[in-house]
Subunit: 724 residues, 2 copies
Amino acid sequence: VVKREVIQVITPGTIMEGNMLKENENNYLASLYLFEDDFIVSYVDLSTGESFVSKVNGNIKDVIGELYNRPVKEVVLPTDFPEDLKETLTHYLDVTLSSEHDNQIPKEFQKLVTGLEDTRLVHGFGYLFQYIFRSQKRFLAHLQAVQFIELNDYMKLDLYSKRNLELIESLRDQSKKGTLLSVLDKTITAMGSRMLKKWIDRPLLSKGQIAERHQQVHTMMEHFMERDELRESLKNVYDLERLAGRISYGNVNARDLLQLKRSLGALPQIKQLLNLFDHPSVSSLLSEVESYQEIFEILDSALAENPPVLITEGNLIKDGYHKQLDEYREVNRNGKSWIAELEAKEREETGIKSLKVGFNKVFGYYIEVTRANLAHLAEGRYERKQTLANAERFVTPELKEKERMILEAQEKSTTLEYELFLELRDQIKSYIPALQTLAEQISKIDCLLSFAMVSEENNYTKPVLNDEQQLRIREGRHPVVEQVMKEMFVPNDIQMDESTDILLITGPNMAGKSTYMRQVALMIIMNQVGCFVPATEAEMPVFDQIFTRIGAADDLVSGQSTFMVEMMEAEHAVRHATERSFILLDEIGRGTSTYDGMALAQSIVEYIHQQVGAKTLFSTHYHELTSLDKSLSRLRNVHVEVDEEDGEVVFLHHIKEGKADKSYGIHVAKLADLPEDIIQRAYQLLESFEATSVLREEKPQKQLTLFEEDQGTLPVTANVEVID
Amino acid sequence: VVKREVIQVITPGTIMEGNMLKENENNYLASLYLFEDDFIVSYVDLSTGESFVSKVNGNIKDVIGELYNRPVKEVVLPTDFPEDLKETLTHYLDVTLSSEHDNQIPKEFQKLVTGLEDTRLVHGFGYLFQYIFRSQKRFLAHLQAVQFIELNDYMKLDLYSKRNLELIESLRDQSKKGTLLSVLDKTITAMGSRMLKKWIDRPLLSKGQIAERHQQVHTMMEHFMERDELRESLKNVYDLERLAGRISYGNVNARDLLQLKRSLGALPQIKQLLNLFDHPSVSSLLSEVESYQEIFEILDSALAENPPVLITEGNLIKDGYHKQLDEYREVNRNGKSWIAELEAKEREETGIKSLKVGFNKVFGYYIEVTRANLAHLAEGRYERKQTLANAERFVTPELKEKERMILEAQEKSTTLEYELFLELRDQIKSYIPALQTLAEQISKIDCLLSFAMVSEENNYTKPVLNDEQQLRIREGRHPVVEQVMKEMFVPNDIQMDESTDILLITGPNMAGKSTYMRQVALMIIMNQVGCFVPATEAEMPVFDQIFTRIGAADDLVSGQSTFMVEMMEAEHAVRHATERSFILLDEIGRGTSTYDGMALAQSIVEYIHQQVGAKTLFSTHYHELTSLDKSLSRLRNVHVEVDEEDGEVVFLHHIKEGKADKSYGIHVAKLADLPEDIIQRAYQLLESFEATSVLREEKPQKQLTLFEEDQGTLPVTANVEVID
């Protein structure tokens, strides 16, 4: 009985190859560890070896926001992880939950975590490590030293915003189509494509880093010839990151190493091209090219030119690489040429013209003589081996000896080649960290080239960064929608300086309010990933977070009413936004009745204005909120322009200063030919509503109570406009 | 050169058979004729011969509403029909437009139109007739005498309402799934299914006719054994209507007539079963059964039991039907038996045991003798016909003679059978009107049985009809939604008596307002097609029209804004509704900004209340409209109940008296954990909004102007509620 041992357990998070692994996507295995108020989130992508750990201070929703958009398939939880949090996780995310009781890291792996200063991070990563260690049962040489990712170094994007803005997945079918990623991704390599996703997922916060990427993109745009050649060169670079993973797992074959060799062979040309861009920010993108030359030479000297897929059949190693192997091959070659000459020799000696020398798998080499010629053979010299219908097959002692030599040499050389290949593979293993660094450098070059391509093709502009929270965009466009609409797309400006925090946007449905709001958010993200933006001019600050409440999220969270979702998104925004954040709120309050919806809309606007100070785009049907510009000094009204042509309403998609036409709806009703009585009465009612609204004032005692209780800084009156 | 003449032109409206013709659907060809302010609309279904003509007094939209939902594939227009109206037609309907310059009706067809008193109707139908006459080029015997359909005899349902209520086609994919038809259609025959569609499309206006159908359904429900047997019997009835069409066109074969015979054969049993229901309203459903016996007997005496598809190969006619045919058949049979006996006779005479008599297509009958036996044949008697390898074939004068007789008899009998069949077909032609009447009777029985089945299966209740425009439904359900939700569906009452014209429905989204409104409309339609309704008790008046403005029609009319569509639907309703109409308006005004939307909503409600007086369900988010119950005496507030359980909002789908909770939205915001400052401020604002709204009063001079100009009867003040 052969003892079968489980040699590897494959779970959704630990797939290394095959159809389930998409080459343009990372496949993260994550773990969560709850320590007092902090969640320690650890990640490993086993296919690339990338490992990192973050700390989330907040509730489970923040953790979900952090996990979302990373292709996390499986989350490892400590055995004692709270049940209710598990339920919340599976409610919002499509992941497998696994559990692990141990978080010890064996001595030989301590080097992975030496960079982590906070022991809670080590404890948290320990669960993930133990889970992999037990399920994978192999030496995991390609695991990279665990990096601590300070989430505060990146712009925060919550779960709702990531979905609403369709950065990486579309709302409609969770595909790439129609996303920001689809527009920006012109990468050549799978590694580059994966990195681009990470970039979009985590826009930068450091002005210096953003400016550096802009500079790199700018330089690449200027040198279009070099850029095209560089893109061409990248086609020779294979997926080094995943190759490194497979080297570590011990399942590379000679063809994989050949790909590695070719990739490394392309580096000198890439380096040379980078230098031609003539700017240090670009030429520095690929460093220490020389050290890769060493690996290239090892592979080049050892690997045969056209090896088979199997590593047990020889033909893996070049001639001249190993003396003993060369000798075996020489014996083999000599024996075969001796046999090739044997036929002529034997024909001459025996005088039999039809004599043949042949080989078959069962009997080996033989000399074949037809029955009629048997008498011509010398006595004693030919040993009968096989009898056919009209012929006999023989061997001679010399032929037997040569045969033995040939087969022995073949077997020995195949065995030796296999051993040499394993040695080579082990030798390459020690270069895994170097290859991972290289993979990262190549990915970055690929991403920046992609930005340069896209920025040029779509006439993007390089944003000017500022520290004053000033947002000024001239003729901005929606990067995804303009791809579909082409010249039909109507560009729009936006201007929010120190004295403007909130733009209150009014105007009818379908006029383009949502597109406008989204395009501003997308431009902010594009800027902070280092790309240029779709506009003719752009001055932008660095935002720390973006919050959105835009329609169409209704069906995403099942079982909750539209309005509840709306309020949850608003809550998230006002709780977490800072003065450096950007908030989009689209028709807050429309899911409930007019007055409480309007009351909530106004109180949220006021709260943002007085307590948060984030730059905010707020669209609304509550026309009456437009009078807030009198009481809220940093609120400005804008509206979508509507025109009438031949009795039809035309949406111009232009955003203009000031509030929308109050009686647009009644105007449409008139076009629809409603009875004049109704139209006149509606105008009359509208006027009276407006008149009353102007005179409205809160009851003073109510206000006093509020102030006493909350020490808030709410405005004394919201509406003080007086019209005669 | 053979002269080829166009013998028939097939257009979308003139298909007679094949895949394009759906058996459960009528295939109407229509024509429009504009005479001053009246549109004459004519219809023919060529597959059934049904012809009718209506007069529409109104604009093209009313005509479209009339054409819509009838499966009209093609509309014939006079050559001078206005271009702009053509464009409107193709914009709203998916039809082929054809043109015709002539509207003469030849003398021999005048009988089709003798029933039409108004000559404009005859002129209008003429275009349709000429078009068919020219394109079909055949005698169209099955065209039924043109019926004038007084549209005022039927409930009016406009285009929007037919679509919105999903009577026959779903909004989502224009399929039957999820429609009222899908629930009500348990018909057995294709004719019945087609009639049911017509019934749903044109609910009745006559209280007497409605009551009669109710009585019939009621009787059928009481006798379930008889009902099941009757349904079983209907399975023997083929599509008589289309059969009549094919008889007229001259393309029925013997199998079609066999189906007709079987259908007629089922009638005595059907009649007998109808009598068992023991109620005159049911037993009278099938009249003059005896007269169909005549056709049955003709067919029964003439038609063979198992005729082939082709009508040129004989075997169509029974023995004993025609003397000459019987004789031919006798000759044929005798000849064949003579030949069968010939072999034995010849063997005996010649003494050749191996002698054979055979037949082949080229040489006919022969006597075969092997070469060895040739000598045994008598001299002179056998004439050589064919030489084979080992045998010779001969004929004798007797054999030749018999052969001639057999073949001649066969040919003559086939020809005669063909002639007899054509005679039979012509004879049946004269019964086409009787068959069409029969088809209608069977269809009606089928529809009523379907109602009885559905009413029993779904626990529907028989409505009590009244003349006082009182609508009282206890535990009403939505017939389609309850099929999906089963016991989960929450039934609701509705009560609208003389003193109530308008129910103003408030409450949050997703709480079931739309379902409630739709279910009332569907029950009204079900009642007026004669079916029972999904409720435990129902008292209902007869409504002359139903108007709806319900969401989700946005994408149907391309290129127009949602709000424009909303206003057009509202316009249609207020312009055409009477005191006996029913109007559904769902959140009118939500597509524009608050104040003009609210102004329009209020002025529309007031207009309906003061000028129209139709029973109206009006749902709204404008909570402030609830105070209209103070100024509009026949308006009542109801709301959808919402509850809170464990911090989650629960929709109970119960409709209750009174207005909805004003602060529902703020309550949800609190559940969503928005900062307390925002919640408090929102409550404060809400209170102040409500307070101002209460004190609001229109400026008197404005109102005077309006009254002077319009002589309208608008209310003096809309809001006079005073709270302390």
